[in-house]
């Protein structure tokens, strides 16, 4: 079964955020992991928060060392920050999480990307 995490950008600051227990957190390692279609209610709840987040969508992840690592490279960049600026973004705040994501193997096409582009 596919594992998924719900992500979005914060409306106020554009920051990448992840859904965890009904709130939004900054780091993917703290995010709720949904199996199969279990993320659908969370996505619906997120879409009902238009003054909190923009363009919520589910991404595929593969758990690695306790971190739900995005399968698609694009989502890894979102979860980390710019690869050319390791001093910026989430990678600068949580080095362990970043190291797990950077070293995780395997990738597949991003989920939700087409809808995301339409929205942005």
């Amino acid at each position: 079964m596919t594992a998924q995490v719900l992500t979005a950008n914060g409306l106020l600051d554009g920051e990448v955020v992840f859904f965890a227990g009904g709130r939004w957190v900054q780091h993917i390692s703290e995010a709720d992991v949904f199996i199969g279609d279990a993320g659908a209610p969370a996505l619906a709840a997120a879409e009902a928060q238009p003054t909190v987040v923009v363009a919520p969508y589910l991404i595929d992840v593969a758990p690695s060392e306790g971190v739900p690592v995005p399968v698609a490279y694009r989502e890894r960049v979102r979860a980390l920050g710019p690869t050319i600026h390791p001093d910026m973004g989430k990678q600068a705040e949580n080095r362990r999480e970043a190291a797990v994501i950077e070293h995780a193997q395997g990738a597949a096409r991003s989920t939700g990307r087409v809808a995301l582009i339409k929205r942005k």
Partner: protein, 558 residues
């Protein structure tokens, strides 16, 4: 120091103030939930505000690539106060800030407006910020100052009610020199100023160029348009486009598709018919207004000096690094005793086009001290100090060295154009900056880069081609293969007066693979070039085969 370039009048300033107030209200309504994201998105885009991977991005217009030193300091202030201490100069002479918060955007626009800066015409399906020759007013080979006409287009097109909702975005470039430094044929409209046999000033009008998914070079639809009719003719082109452009399919909506489908001759016929029916006097710029704009671009109080500059010549003889800088970054000025100094934003290991706030402030100081307070931005993502006395070039070089901006690599292999790519952009398929950095690293030795000579490498992170890969001597396009980054090589492009579109060489390569491939291409060129041949010339003479062989003989394509 009195400005010698156009400054906004009371009407311009009031317009900007109104615009900021309007956007402040729109942001407040969005935050309060009175506007949905779908309603708000086109409003924020009209103010240059995109939502990218990590944050909002604000694109600020630098009309025709010309900045006064206080404007550059204002950009530095925005970078420092609202971003992370840097900005990114783009391939359309704009600047982007990549870490903007929505709640700050109205304050930023208000701060920018204090120095005649704004984000109008940097997004949306309107006539975008006009590109012009960055050496305007400084180069000896121009027949007129293209900024005068660019400013006229800016005033005419800003908030033009008929052309604010075109089928798609619309980009215009203006150049007045035979050496094209604007990529004119890659624009929706390219305007080349020249004199006819009678000595009259006119525009060659090229329409229907563009890159992206379907690249085209703009064909010429009129060889000589009398300059006084510029605006009425532009209106005729845009009306023809507005009437027939495809609004049903975003991939076919640009004017290049319309021109290609109709054919240049038929498109030109329709434009001429529209123009013939136009009340030209109602649209064209009155002579008085043209004179007012031209008067704003005053000639600086240059002090021409014949003969060599001892300070310049002594420094060149004494310092090989300065001599290299002069060879690669310094060009002749139209006034004897002055020079055009290019400032490379492509230092080894740095992001192409990125400039820190401290660097911006320092360049503004250098401009005040040595270049009449003027700075230019190039579509190659570099800066220019356009009016430097030869005596002052050593001091400018030392000043640039002190801030890490003295890299002597203009038009060399390490002077790479790269879009922000997947490190920032929500549309990208692959990263571009890291590839640029790795390739530049292979040519970091100045001796090697100079031995290779002119080589324009251009990298885009997706098919939208912001990195101009279609126009690269070596073009690199990032593609997504099952979620992983791969890179497609193209060769033989040029955005200059010898414009051509690059052709795909072969299957896509991995990131490290494409960096190795560029070295192989260069080796193949070095082994085959004739005297004086650039990479592009050798490719055009020999075709793709020897280069294909060099890259794919034992590579492992995807």
């Amino acid at each position: 120091m009195p400005s010698a370039i156009y400054q906004y009048d009371a009407i311009d300033s009031a317009m900007l103030a109104d615009r900021v107030a309007e956007f402040r209200g729109q942001v407040a309504r969005r935050l309060a939930g009175e506007l949905t994201e779908d309603q708000f998105k086109p409003l924020r885009l009209m103010n240059g505000l995109y939502l990218q991977l990590h944050a909002y991005m604000l694109r600020v217009a630098i009309p025709y690539g010309t900045l006064r030193s206080p404007q550059l300091r204002r950009l530095a202030d925005v970078a420092r106060r609202y971003d992370r201490g840097y900005g990114h100069f783009t391939t359309r002479q704009n600047i982007q800030f990549h870490w903007i918060k929505l709640k700050d955007a109205p304050d930023i626009l208000e701060a920018l407006a204090a120095d005649d800066l704004h984000a109008i015409q940097t997004s949306g399906n309107c006539i975008r910020n006009v590109t012009a020759d960055p050496y305007a007013g400084a180069t000896a080979d121009e027949v007129d100052d293209p900024r005068v006409w660019s400013e006229a287009i800016r005033q005419w097109s800003t908030f033009h009610p008929e052309f604010s909702y075109l089928p798609r975005k619309f980009k215009i470039a203006v150049t007045a020199a035979p050496k094209d430094r604007t990529a004119a044929r890659a624009h929706d409209i390219g305007l080349q100023l020249r004199r006819n046999r009678e000595g009259e000033l006119g525009f060659e009008v090229m329409v229907g160029g563009g890159q992206g998914r379907q690249p085209f070079l703009a064909p010429t639809i009129r060889e000589h348009l009398p300059v006084r009719h510029l605006l009425s003719y532009l209106q005729a082109v845009l009306r023809t486009y507005n009437r027939h452009g495809r609004r049903d399919n975003i991939h076919k909506a640009r004017i290049k598709v319309l021109v290609a489908q109709l054919g240049a001759e038929e498109f030109a016929r329709q434009v001429e018919a529209e123009w013939a029916a136009t009340d030209k006097a109602a649209v064209d710029l009155p002579d008085t207004e043209l004179a007012r704009i031209r008067g704003a671009f005053r000639i600086h109080p240059f002090e021409p000096r014949r003969g060599p500059s001892p300070a310049f010549e002594t420094a060149k003889a004494a310092d090989p690094a300065f001599a290299r800088f002069v060879r690669n970054n310094v060009l002749a000025h139209k006034v004897p005793g002055y020079a055009i100094v290019n400032v490379s934003l492509k230092a080894p290991g740095e992001t192409p086009g990125d400039c820190s706030a401290d660097q911006m402030d320092a360049v503004a100081d250098l401009a005040d001290a040595h270049s009449f307070g003027e700075v230019r931005v190039t579509y190659q993502q570099n800066l220019v100090l356009p009016h430097v006395p030869l005596d002052d070039v050593p001091a400018v070089f030392a000043g640039l060295q002190a801030i890490g901006l003295a890299t002597a690599n203009i038009d060399l292999a390490s002077d790479i154009i790269a879009c922000p790519g997947l490190d920032y952009c929500s549309l990208a398929n692959a990263r571009a900056i890291n590839i640029a950095q790795d390739i530049a690293g292979r040519f970091a030795l100045p001796e090697r880069a100079e031995a290779v000579g002119e080589l324009k490498i251009k990298i885009s992170g997706c098919i939208n081609a912001c990195g101009h890969h279609h126009l690269g001597h070596i073009g690199i396009l990032g593609v997504d293969k099952k979620g992983e980054e791969f890179y497609q090589l193209s060769l033989g492009g040029s955005g200059e007066e010898d414009a051509s579109l690059a052709r795909i060489l072969g299957p896509a390569l991995s990131g490290p693979g494409v960096v190795d491939a560029v070295e192989r291409l260069v080796d193949a060129y070095m082994g085959r070039r004739l005297d004086g041949e650039r990479f592009l010339d050798t490719y055009r003479r020999l075709g793709a085969e020897p280069f294909k062989e060099a890259v794919y003989a034992d590579a492992h394509p995807a």
